[in-house]
Amino acid sequence: MKAIFISYNQAYHEEILEIMSKNNIKGYTYWDVVRGRGSRGGEPHLGDHAWPTLNAAILSIVEEEKAEPFMQQLHQLDIKSEAMGLRAFAWSVEATV
């Protein structure tokens, strides 16, 4: 099992859900408004006067074999329009109940 955390421009939301359903990923946790900035390049998404855009975030725990294509497709989405901003991070899940 892999935990995948995606922090992305709010406007990406529906596209990401589409990718997830295509990959048969059902479960996720979703925060509709999160703020943040990247460490390299890209505009901050702080929802303030200077940087009015906002992020959303999804945390999804997926099977090992689904993780790789999912990350790939997210990357494709990101490079299609880099100015929007999308980052995804994956790590192993040690235990579930």
Partner: protein, 1049 residues
């Protein structure tokens, strides 16, 4: 879920809601009635008190003064003026505009109840009378008749006036120029004397003979019959055979001593239409009715009425007030359409995309139509004010939509899907869109609170624009994102023509951005030079141009109507007056081919013609109603013609005074401006002398061609001065003697002759040839109780005297008003300066003062109100901005664009030599809100750049370059939207020209200067702020260094 999110998610609901709003608007548009101005309730109440037999000065002291003293305490009273003339006192209470006249009337009634006991016993109860704009006739019809002149009154009354009066909304219909039928019994005084019969005997006899009497009922056999005596005259000639008495055994019939004429009343008004004798029908509307609707109904009815009339009686139209109203509305509607197209083109050129243009333009009809719904709901009309508010708003409503659309486009270009882009992009700009609408509301909502005349006019403007702005903002936050999500695409296909057209535009705009960036770069590095230059521009305009700017009240409107009142010396015979009237008609008709209809009335009006009897009338008075061809169909302007007519009239030495009123005698807004000098002082002769001197001085100035004095001259009259002792000697008294005199000259109404349900007076008096000289009066025989006949010359003397004129008072002091019409091409402020100069040259006797009144006073009052309002609006705008930025500095910086708006306005008005009137003032007030918008956009983006970490100067230049296009675009839509208003030449255009001019000039100049000065001022303030912070930091560091050094020591 936010409002824009729901809108994007539910496109059908959103679209249909706005379609519903538009449908309501269209429905309202078809239902709204049309008028020239918003309804102005009458603000004057007249109190008429009759005191029969009292002279002017008795009336003044015993009636007018006590009434004035009491009525003066009624609240909201502006002026109290009075006229005391023989037998009657007329007090006019002028209230502030906009008060509830019914409440005022009740107050007045209460006060009158209080004062009643103080009035002389003989005086009658005071009558309250309201006269307002509703009483001004809406239609004047001309009647020409060749054969039917004698029966004209009855024909007109039955077949024209009555059917017209039945139309709902039509008030009084009066006929003038068509004399009323009257049965005249003309007696020969010598024959009367020979038979010892008096006029009174004949009069009483006719009254006794002309009777129908019911005699009760009578039972005959099995039936009951009613019994009647029916001896009313069936023919006037029946009277000739009445037996009036016996003399020497012979029967004397009426025909032996008198003649009977079934004719017309002796004194009447005569009307000529284009030199042809005829009549005039005056139609007034009921209070509160809509004149355009009524005119329409009346005009629809006319062909039907015409068909029923005898073939020689022709009806025509002299004045149709609705004509001007409809033409004015048409030219305004044209202006609105032009404005719409201009704004559309500007948006298209800047955006270069049809779909985007469509999205933005769509907000215009939606918001404008919603304002029409407001008009219908509140019972207002389509009028100059409401329609020009629409025109003003067109350029401003697109601003919000532009901001939203621009941000959505940016998001899409960044790669967002249109749907998401629409929601999130709108979310980002929502606050600033609402804030900029709030600044506009800060300007327009206070407009709804102005008092007085301008308050009535501009309340509607305030509400209309406020509603339009609110609806457009709601539209920009819902409909615009929804449409963006549906219609906008990333990199849409662009045809070759499109490229050919827009590549140069795009390049041009790019070059402009670049040039502006460089200019700004230079300016922020030379802040002192720039500030000094700006200060110089402002100071230069204020010092050199401001003093030569002219002012006025309302511009004079060319409504193709001219009214002229000419007074010949009092007591001039009607024949002489008539000849002059006809001569003038002929002259005018020949000299001015622009005249369509020239209607002239002269003579004394009868009492049943309401319109004529409240306007000036008398045998020496001529009044013209001239209708010109439409403004667009003639070369000469109305004011030029008026001017020339004044010069024409000045050539006639027999004319005592004349008054040529441009725009007809309609009063209110849009007439020619006049400066009135009220001269206060008690003594009659002195005040006459002062007024005459002033008149002479003013007339001596060139260009001044109409000066009138309010006080009438002394009227010559004959008085019969009875000697009481002689009367007593003959067992007579003044009552009997004077009544006998009246019966012989004026006639006594003996009875009424009935025909076809109409009653006509039967008047008995001396034949006209026996009342033509003083001797005729002296020879009148008066019989006493003993049957002795005594001649008037044995009872007293007939003397020629002069009656003193009406005593006029204003604000409880005797006044005489000299009014001077401002000539064509001269501003009112110039005229005021001239008049003041002349007044200062004159030496006023002790106890005499003067004051300027009339249009000038109204102008001063209104300007004072408007300037107060402007200050309040500036403060409100500041508050809104301060709240938006949460800062006091930034709004202050942005406020720097306001002085340059004033510079632009002064420059524009001086260059086009347009006077500053109320309309221009309203334009200036609107500017306060419009010009700061540019500053807000610039400063907001500069702050954003600073927050993103740029240095001050770099941020200023970057922000300027990036915001130039939106600023130019919103400014151009507003400025170009005003230009059709400013240069419009249609009917009524004078009214809104100055407003359009003010906004266009003020906004252009202010924008050009704002684009440089606001960034520069910002840079200065921000720089100072940083330096201050640095200094503080330095001090703190030094302090700490010292402290640590001390610790070390």
């Amino acid at each position: 879920m936010s409002i824009y999110q729901s809108a994007v998610k539910k496109p059908i609901t959103t679209a249909l809601i706005f379609i519903a709003v538009m449908l309501f608007g269209i429905f309202s548009f078809t239902r709204l009635s049309v008028d020239l101005f918003p309804e102005i309730e009458t603000n004057a109440i007249m109190v008429l008190t009759a005191y029969p037999g009292a002279s002017a000065s008795d009336i003044e002291n015993n009636v007018t003064k006590p009434l004035e003293n009491t009525l003066n305490s009624v609240s909201d009273l502006k002026h109290i003026t009075s006229k005391s003339r023989e037998n009657i006192s007329i007090i006019t209470l002028e209230f502030e505009y906009g008060i509830d006249i019914d409440v005022a009337t009740n107050d007045v009634r209460d006060k009158l109840d209080m004062v009643k006991s103080v009035l002389p016993d003989e005086s009658e109860n005071p009558i309250i009378f309201k006269f307002g704009s509703d009483d001004i006739p809406i239609l004047l019809l001309s009647v020409t008749a060749k054969e039917s002149t004698n029966g004209l009154y009855k024909i007109l009354d039955d077949m024209v006036a009555n059917p017209l009066a039945r139309i709902s909304g039509v008030g009084a219909v009066s006929i003038s120029g068509a004399p009323v039928r009257e049965i005249n019994v003309y007696c020969d005084p010598y024959k009367l004397e020979a038979y010892g019969i008096t006029v009174e005997t004949i009069s009483a006899l006719i009254a006794q003979e002309n009777r129908n009497t019911p005699g009760g009922t009578i039972d005959i056999g099995s039936n009951t019959y009613s019994l009647r005596v029916q001896k009313e005259f069936a023919d006037a000639n029946e009277m000739l055979n009445l037996v009036v008495g016996h003399y020497n055994g012979k029967t004397i019939y009426l025909k032996d001593i008198a003649t009977v004429q079934d004719g017309l009343e002796e004194r009447s008004q005569e009307t000529f239409n284009n030199g042809e004798k005829g009549g005039m029908i005056v139609i007034q509307k009921q209070a509160g009715a809509n004149s355009v609707n009524i005119s329409k109904k009346v005009l629809e009815k006319l062909p039907e009425i015409q068909k029923a009339l005898p073939s020689d009686v022709k009806l025509g139209i002299i004045v149709d007030t609705s004509d001007n109203i409809l033409n004015t509305m048409d030219s305004l509607k044209e202006t609105i359409i032009i404005t719409f197209i201009v704004v559309m083109l500007v948006v298209f050129i800047f955006l270069g995309r049809w779909r985007a243009t469509f999205i933005i333009i769509l907000t215009i009809p939606i918001s404008l139509l919603s304002a029409l719904t407001y008009l219908l709901v509140t019972g207002n009309t389509l009028n100059i004010i409401s329609l020009s508010s629409l025109s003003i708003a067109i350029g401003m409503v697109v601003d919000d939509a532009i901001v939203v659309l621009e941000n959505v486009t940016t998001h899409i270009e960044r790669g967002s899907r249109p749907k998401q882009a629409a929601v999130y992009a709108t979310n980002e700009v929502a606050i600033s869109v609402i804030a900029s609408t709030l600044t506009m509301l800060a300007v327009f909502l206070p407009l709804t609170m102005i008092q007085g005349m301008s308050g009535i006019l501009f309340r509607q403007l305030g509400w209309m624009v406020s509603i339009i702005m609110i609806v457009s903002t709601v539209g920009a936050l819902t409909l615009t994102p929804m449409l963006c999500s549906q219609l906008l695409r990333l990199n849409p296909f662009q045809g070759r023509l499109h490229k050919l057209l827009f590549d140069p535009i795009d390049k041009g705009l790019g070059a402009l951005d670049h040039a502006y960036g460089r200019l700004l770069g230079w300016a922020v590095h030379h802040r002192k030079v720039v500030m000094f230059m700006a200060l110089a521009i402002f100071a230069g305009t204020m010092i050199f141009l401001f003093p030569i700017m002219k002012t006025e009240y309302f511009p004079t409107q060319d409504n193709s109507r001219i009214g002229i009142t000419i007074k010949l010396p009092a007591g001039t015979r009607q024949d002489i007056t008539r000849d002059l009237a006809l001569e003038l008609t002929e002259k005018f008709m020949k000299k001015y081919p622009e005249i369509k209809i020239c209607n002239v009335t002269e003579g004394a009006a009868d009492s049943d013609n309401t319109f004529a009897s409240i306007s000036d009338n008398g045998t020496n008075i001529i009044s013209f109603n001239i209708n010109l061809y439409k403004k667009t169909e003639r070369e000469k302007g109305m004011l030029e013609i008026v001017e020339e007519m004044r010069n024409d009239l000045a050539e006639y030495p027999q004319i005592k005074t004349f008054q040529v009123s441009a725009g007809g005698r309609s009063g209110g807004v849009g007439g020619q401006n006049a400066v009135e000098v009220d001269i206060y002082g008690y003594d009659f002769a002195t005040s006459d002398a002062v007024a005459n001197e002033l008149t002479e001085r003013l007339k001596a100035l060139d260009r001044v061609n109409e000066v009138t004095i309010s006080r009438d001259e002394y009227t010559p009259e004959y008085q019969v001065d009875f000697d009481r002792e002689k009367l007593a000697l003959h067992d007579l008294n003044v009552g009997t003697a004077s009544l006998a005199l009246r019966n012989r000259i004026n006639g006594s109404t003996a009875s009424y002759y009935r025909e076809d349900g109409e009653e006509y007076d039967i008047k008995v008096r001396f034949s006209p040839q026996f009342r033509q000289s003083v001797e005729d009066i002296e020879n009148i025989l008066i019989y006493n109780g003993r049957g002795e006949g005594i001649r008037i010359k044995d009872l007293g003397t007939v003397v020629e005297t002069l009656t003193p004129p009406t005593i006029e008072r204003k604000d409880r002091e005797r006044v005489i008003t000299v009014s001077c019409v401002v000539p064509n091409g001269m501003a009112m402020s110039d005229m005021v300066t001239l008049v003041k100069a002349e007044l200062n040259k004159m030496e006023f006797p002790m106890g005499f003062t003067w004051q300027l009144g009339g249009t000038f006073e109204d102008q001063q009052d209104t300007f004072k109100d408007l300037i107060t309002l402007m200050i309040m609006i500036i403060l409100l705008v500041f508050i809104v901005m301060a709240a938006q930025f949460e800062s006091l500095t930034y709004p202050f910086v942005i406020m720097f664009s306001i002085p340059f708006a004033i510079v632009g306005v002064v420059l524009g008005l001086v260059l086009t030599s347009t006077p500053m009137g109320v309309m221009a003032m309203i334009g200036l007030i609107m500017l306060m809100g419009i010009v700061v918008k540019n500053g807000i956009v610039l400063i907001d983006y500069t702050i954003l750049c600073r927050e993103r970490g740029m240095g001050i100067l770099y941020a200023v230049v970057t922000a300027g370059k990036s915001r130039l296009r939106p600023v130019l675009m919103t400014t151009l839509t507003t400025v170009l939207g005003m230009i059709p208003l400013a240069v419009g030449g249609g009917e009524g255009a004078e009214m809104w020209q100055s407003m359009g001019m003010t906004v266009a000039w003020g906004l252009s100049v202010s924008t050009l200067i704002t684009l440089v000065i606001v960034p520069v001022v910002y840079a200065t303030f921000a720089g100072n702020g940083i330096q201050g912070a640095r200094r503080k930091e330095l001090k703190r560091a030094r302090r700490e260094a010292r402290r640590s050094a001390a610790q070390l020591n």
